[in-house]
Amino acid sequence: MPALPLDEAGKYVAGAYGVFVALILIYVAIMAVKLQRIEREIQSLTELARERLQERS
């Protein structure tokens, strides 16, 4: 096939790089959700530990 003109080729190149960026963004978003869950778990455990300390004292 002959080389595509720039305006046509640009769409494909943007598409390919867009896929790459989208993959990374989706992954980072999933990791952010997981991090929020960890943060909630830490808060919950802090509360639990505080309760235990109060029970002891």
Partner: protein
């Protein structure tokens, strides 16, 4: 991030357009590094699986799992960017009689079966062992597959990493190497992120159990720092 940004700047402002394919050849700088890093990741996962079988330390299994997981994600990128490039260059999204494409798809699908295999086993020790055996076997298949593809006749897909790749102009080669280094660092960073997240969740679970068992008067489990990493 700095390397990826530098690579993107080099791709669009430094590397010349390909004489044959023109601007669309810029996809090369994302597609090929993704493929190389994904395949090396699969091989590394096999080595990590072997380390697990040798030491019986579950940390190696967790590392092997995360390496495969990340390589599968990169593999999705390889297939998607490859299809877009194929459509632009050959007029087709996929060519079934091209060995390079089909072999990569086989490897990708092989590793996709890793997830059901891993999560179908309840016993953590057995799961880690089976997953490691899978990682080693499939990891050994990757270079064999690479050599087989090299020996097969190529129809449309060009061969990279061969002697003719030496024809690549200096600007293109530099851009490609920077893109490859950036992709490899991105892979390592994401693997570390995933491992850290997994370790944090595991230690929090352990901490919760300790607090609850202490409250109920049961025997407390060993301290967190000495707990071996569990695969998920």
């Amino acid at each position: 991030m700095v390397l990826i940004t530098t690579a993107l700047a080099l791709v669009f402002f430094y590397a010349p357009n390909d004489a044959d394919q023109g601007f669309v050849q810029k996809i090369f700088y994302v597609h090929v590094p993704l493929a190389i890093v994904a395949l090396i990741g699969f091989i590394v996962a096999g080595v990590l699986g072997a380390m697990h079988l040798r030491t019986r330390d579950d940390t190696w299994d967790a590392r092997s799992y995360v390496a495969i997981h990340m390589s599968v994600i990169f593999g999705v990128g390889v297939l998607a960017t490859g299809a877009i490039w194929a459509r632009a260059s050959w007029g087709k999204w996929w060519v079934w009689d091209e060995p390079t494409l089909v072999s990569f798809l086989i490897i990708f699908l092989l590793y996709v079966t890793y997830y059901p295999l891993r999560y179908s086993i309840d016993d953590p020790q057995r799961r880690a062992r089976y997953a490691s055996v899978f990682a080693i076997t499939a990891g050994a298949f990757v270079p064999i597959n690479f050599i087989a593809v090299r020996m097969a006749e190529s129809l449309v897909h060009p061969r990279v990493l061969n002697q003719t790749a030496g024809d690549m102009p200096g600007e293109m080669r530099l851009t490609f190497l920077v893109a490859l280094a950036g992709m490899a660092l991105l892979y390592v960073t994401l693997v570390k992120l995933e491992l850290t997240s997994k370790n944090a969740r595991r230690q929090l679970r352990r901490l919760r159990r300790m607090l609850e068992e202490e409250h109920s008067g049961g025997a407390a489990p060993p301290p967190i720092a000495t707990v071996p990493a569990k695969p998920n």
